[in-house]
Symmetry: D2
Subunit: 345 residues, 4 copies
C-alpha cells in the first residue's frame, strides 16, 4: 500500500509500505476513507517529537471501513464504517477505567507516533473495540473526521476543563483549528460572550461567523485592556490557551477574573511564569489535559442532531496521494486561509 | 482599651487606643476573650503588607462576647459568645452570593489589615450577621479560635481545592500550623496516605501523632525520589503547597501524578516556573484560593462531634497583655516548638 | 392605592388598600411597572393554599421602580429599576448561605402568600438587598418579568436538577408556561432531543417553534411507546415533570432510561406511586425543588446577551386595572391560547 | 467438582457438577478459596428471582486463584490471586465506558443468576480483565471477600449516592450486613452523626462499636420523633434505606431534612408511596442504584491502608462443603447473631 512516511526532520515521502496485518486478537485493520493533518503532524515533521523515528507512518485521525478484525473483537466486523480515535484505549487499565484514556497503560496517543498511523491506505488499530466508534449509514463521514481529535480536544481540554457555564464570559487565545473547535463546542453551554484573540485578521473574521461575540487582534490592540473593556473591568470567567507559547499562557493569567478558570490546550515546549504573587489569592483554577476522547460518543450525538457543524472546520480537499501538497498548504495556513484539510482515499 | 498597634516595619506596641463603637447599623462590637497570632501577622510586622499603615491594630482571629450590636443586626445580641471570622462578608454582593466571601466587595480580609483587628480588648466587626458565628454554651472556646482562620484555610484552600478522596495519596509540603491544619482536615476524606514534607524534624515528628502516614525531611532526602518510592513510582494524587516559595511549589509540580491536583495555600511573593513542557499532557489541576470561611459552620459541627480536635494546634498560652512576648515566641517557632499561641483577655 | 385582594375561595377584587410603608430597615417599597399571573395564583384563588387568608394582596412576580428604601438598604436607592424575585432571601441564615433561598428562615416564598404581594400599585419587599435585582437602562423590562419566577423555576427545578447535558434526550411532560420555560432554558445545555408531551395540540405546536425536536399528544398516542420509539428503545436521559399530578409523574418513571434523572417541578396535592420494584436497580435520580432564584443573575446575563428570549412566553397584555379580566383569560389558558400575561401599571 | 445447586424454590443441594472450562477468549477459570452468602441468595432460594432456573450454581462473591485464562486475557495469569466482582463488566459497551457496570450490555449481575456462580470449587469468570481484581501477596484474603459485593454496595448505593459530607447527620435504616457496610464506609466522609435504625437490639449494639453515634430501635420508639430529637428538629441530611420494604422507605421520606438525600439500597418487591404533596418543595434528591463495583480499586486501597476493617462484618466460618448448614445459620441471622459467613474451600 501507499503511505506518508517520516524520514527524519524535514523529510517525508508518499511511498510503498507493507499493508498492515492483525498482530493481536484485539486489533482491527481499517481501510482509510478520509484522513486529515494535525498541527502535531507539522511538529513531527520538523523533528520536534523525538519518539517518532525514521520509517514511521504519520497521522492519528480519520474514518474508514473495517477490513479485518482479530478474534477478540466483538463490536465491529468487516465492512463496518468507523471513526478512528486519536487515542487508543485498552479499556481495562486503571486509567481507562477512570475515563483517562490519554494515559492508557497500553495505548494513549500511539497512532502516527509510536506505531504506524492513518495517513496511509490502511492502518492497524489496537484495542479496536475501545478505540473505534461506529458510523451509521447515511452519516456525513467527512464531518466525522473532525471527531478523531480536534473536536474532542477543544471540548475536553478547553470547554469541559474550563467549566464553561451559561452566562459566562470566555476568551479563547488562538483562532487556529483547535481554537475554532473550542469556539464551536463552547457554545454547547451558552456563554454570554466568547472573545477570540489572534494575530490573523482572516481567522478572526471567520470566527465571527462561527459564534464569536467579539474578536481582538493582538497585534493591533492591547489585549488586556480590550478584554477588561469588554467585561466591565472584571476579566473573563474562562481563559482558554490554544497556542502553546509562554506569551499566550501568561496573557490568560492576566485576563482571568477572580474565581475563574484557565484551561490549557496548547502543546508547550518550555516553562511559563506563573504569577502566584498575584494569583495566590484570586481563587483560580488552571488545568492541563491531553485529550481523552471520552466525549466522542456525546459529540457524535450533537453532530447527528445538527447541533454541532464540524464542516465549519474544513477548508481544503485533496486526494490522499496529494498529501505532500496538502502538508504544504496546511503548513502555510495563514496565507492559504486553511483550517483543516480533508484527504480522500 | 489596650491593643497591639503596628507602627511601621519592625515596630509594634501594646498601647492605649479608643474603644471601638458602632459605625454602621450592621456592625457589632465584640469584647475579645481569646485571640491568636497568624503567620500573616509576622509578615505585616516585617512591613511586607504595605496596605497596613501606621496606627493599625493587628489580628484577624479570635472568639469573644458581643458587647453591642447595630440596629440592623438580627442574629446576635449583647452577651452572645461568638467566633470571629477572618473574612468579613456582606452577604449581598455577587461574590458573597457565590460563596466567595474572600472577594466580598464590601469586606473580604479587612480585619487587622484595612481596619482595626482582634489583638485588642475590643473589636468592631462589620456585617456582624454574616461575619460572626454563634458559640453555644459549654463549647471549648479555645479550640474554636482555630476556626477563625487556620482550619478553614487548610481545609478550603488545601483539602477541598485539592479534592482529596478516600484512598488517595496526599503530600503536604510544609508542616507549620497551616500544613498541620491541612493534615487534620484532610483526614475527613480518609486518604490512604498523607506524606508530610518539611525541614524541621520536630514538626515532622509532631505530624506523625496527628495522622501523617510518612514524613520526609527535605534537608536529608531527595524528596522526589522519596515520594516516588512511597507511591509505587507514580507520585501523589494531591500535592498541597503550604509554604509560599518557588522551590516548594515546583516540588509539587514534580511529585504530582497524572490526573492529580496541586492546591496552593502559601502566600507567594514572586512568580514560580510552571513546567508546562512536562505538565501540558498530564491532566493536572492547579488551584489558588484565599480562604472564604464558607465551611466554618461545617467545621464547627465536626469540632462539636469530636471528629476534629483543633487543640492539637495549640502549643503556647499567654495573657493578652503579654502579646509582645508571644510574638517573639511565634517568630521563633522552630526553636520554640510553637504552632499556635492562645492569648487570653 | 389599588390592589388585587383575595377574599376567600373564588372571591377576589380590585380595590383600595393602604399604600405599603417601610417596616424594617432592610425593606424597600417598589412601585410596580409590570406584573403577571402565575398558575399558583389560580390555586390560591380556588382556595387550595390555606395559608393565604382573607384580605391578602396576591402576586409574587414583577418589575418596578424603587420608591423608598429602609436605612440598612445599600444596594438600591429611590428611582432604581428592579426585578422582584418571587423568593425573599435574608442573605444570612444557614439556608441562604447554602444558596437554598427557597427555605430562607426569614423569607422564602412569602410575597402574595404570607405577606402582601405584587398585583398592586406598590409592594413592600423585605430584605431588599438580597431579594431585588437591578435593571440597567435600556433593558426590555417586560421580558425581565419572566425572571421573577417562571424562568428560574423551569431552569433550576427542571434543567439544573435534571442535569441536562449536551447530547442528552430530554422529555418535558407539560407544555404550559412552566414547561415552556424549561424548554427554553434546557437549550442552554444543547441536548440532542427535547420531546414535549401534553394534551393541548396548540401548545405542542408552539413548542416546535421554541426548540422542541418532537411532540407527543398524550391523548392521541401511547406516550411510553412513542418515547421509546424516538429513543432507540432506551427512554430519555432526563424526564421533567411540569404538571403536578400522579399520572404525569408516573409517566416519567416509565420513560426514564437506566442512569437517568426525573426532575419534578409540579406542585403536587397528593402522593404518587414510586415503582421501586422496577426502579431500585435502574440507577436513577429523582429530585424535587422549590425555586431558589439563585440563578437569576446568570439568567439575566443570558437575556442581555440575546441567548434567551423570554418574550416567547408572553401572549397577552392588559392594563393593571384590568387584572380581573386577565385572570379570566389565564384561567382558560388552553381556549385563549394563553401562556403568560403582562399587566402594566 | 462440587457446587451448591438451586433446584427450584426451597431446594438446593451440594452436589457434583462438571468443572467449568474456558468458553471465550476473555474468560478465566478461578479456583475458589473463600466465598460467602448474600441476602440475595436467600431470595433466590425462596424462588423470588425467577431468572434463576433449576440447575444453576448460586453465589456472586469470593476470592480465589486463577486456574486458567483465555487467550485474550492479559492482566491475569495462572496462579494469580484475585477478588471476584459480583458485577461482570465487558469494558467496552456504552454503560461500562460510563462506569455503570451494573448495566453492562454483556455482563452486569450474571454470576449465580444467569450463569453459574461462586458457591463451588471452580467458577468461570467472563471478561476476566475487567471483572477480577488482583490481590497482592500478604493481603488478608478473608477481608477481601467483602469487596466482591457488600462493601461496594453499601458505599456506592448508600454513601456515594447519598452524598455524605463532613459534618452531616446520616440515618441508616436497617442494621443488617448491608447497613453495616454502609456504616463502615460512611465514615470515610466524617459525618458528625450516624443514627442506626433497626428492630434487632443485638445488631444495634454491634453498630455502636463500629461507629454509630446513636441507635433507635423502631419497635420500641417513635422513630420520627427520635430522629427529630437527635437533630434539633431538622431531620437528617442523608437517609439511607437498607431494608427494601415500603415502611422503611417511607420512614426515610419522613426523616429527611429540606435539601437532603434519600439513597435507596434495598431490593424492593413492590411500589412505595412517594409523598410529593410534602416533598415537592423540600429540595430533596432520591437515588436508586444497582452496585457498579466501580469503587472496588479505591476500597481496596482503604483496606490495605488499614482505614477500612472489613472483618467487622464477618461473624461465622464454615468449610465450603458445610454450605447448606451455613445457609441455615445465615437465614436465621437475628437468632444466630450472624452478619457475613465465610466459606473456605
Amino acid at each position: 500500500m501507499k503511505a506518508l512516511v517520516y524520514h527524519g526532520a524535514g523529510k517525508m515521502s508518499w511511498e510503498d509500505k507493507p499493508k498492515p496485518s492483525i498482530q493481536f486478537a484485539t486489533d482491527a485493520i481499517v481501510k482509510i476513507s478520509k484522513t486529515t493533518i494535525c498541527g502535531t503532524d507539522l511538529h513531527i515533521m520538523k523533528g520536534d517529537v523525538p519518539e517518532v523515528t525514521d520509517g514511521r507512518i504519520i497521522g492519528h485521525e480519520g474514518v474508514g471501513v473495517i477490513e479485518e478484525v482479530g478474534s477478540a473483537v466483538s463490536s465491529f466486523k468487516k465492512g463496518d464504517h468507523v471513526i478512528i480515535s486519536c487515542i487508543t484505549s485498552c479499556g481495562k487499565c486503571g486509567y481507562c477505567k477512570k475515563g483517562m484514556y490519554s494515559h492508557c497503560e497500553n495505548g494513549g496517543w500511539i497512532l502516527g507516533h509510536l506505531i504506524d498511523g492513518t495517513q496511509a491506505e490502511y492502518v492497524r488499530i489496537p484495542y479496536a473495540d475501545n478505540s473505534l466508534f461506529p458510523i451509521p449509514a447515511g452519516a456525513d463521514e467527512e464531518a466525522l473526521v473532525m471527531l478523531s481529535d480536534i473536536l474532542p480536544t477543544g471540548f475536553e481540554c478547553g470547554v469541559l476543563n474550563g467549566q464553561v457555564k451559561p452566562g459566562d464570559t470566555v476568551a479563547i487565545v488562538g483562532a487556529g483549528p483547535i481554537g475554532i473547535a473550542t469556539l464551536l463546542t463552547a457554545q454547547f453551554y451558552t456563554p454570554a460572550q466568547i472573545i477570540m484573540i489572534d494575530v490573523d485578521e482572516n481567522r478572526l473574521n471567520v470566527t465571527k461567523t462561527f459564534g464569536a461575540t467579539s474578536t481582538i487582534n493582538s497585534q493591533q490592540s492591547n489585549v488586556v485592556e480590550a478584554v477588561l473593556s469588554l467585561t466591565d473591568g472584571k476579566g473573563v470567567d474562562v481563559a482558554i490557551e490554544a497556542v502553546g507559547i509562554p506569551a499566550t499562557f501568561e496573557l490568560c493569567e492576566q485576563i482571568v477574573t477572580a474565581g475563574g478558570h484557565i484551561a490549557n490546550i496548547g502543546v508547550h515546549g518550555k516553562s511559563v511564569s506563573l504569577h502566584l504573587e498575584d494569583l495566590w489569592s484570586k481563587n483560580i483554577t488552571i488545568t492541563t489535559r491531553l485529550v481523552d476522547t471520552v466525549t466522542t460518543p456525546m459529540l457524535f450525538k450533537t453532530v447527528q442532531s445538527g447541533k454541532l457543524q464540524p464542516t465549519h472546520l474544513i477548508t481544503h480537499h485533496f486526494k490522499l496521494d496529494q498529501i505532500v501538497e496538502a502538508y504544504n498548504v496546511f503548513a502555510n495556513a495563514a496565507k492559504e486561509k486553511a483550517l483543516k484539510v480533508i484527504l480522500t482515499n
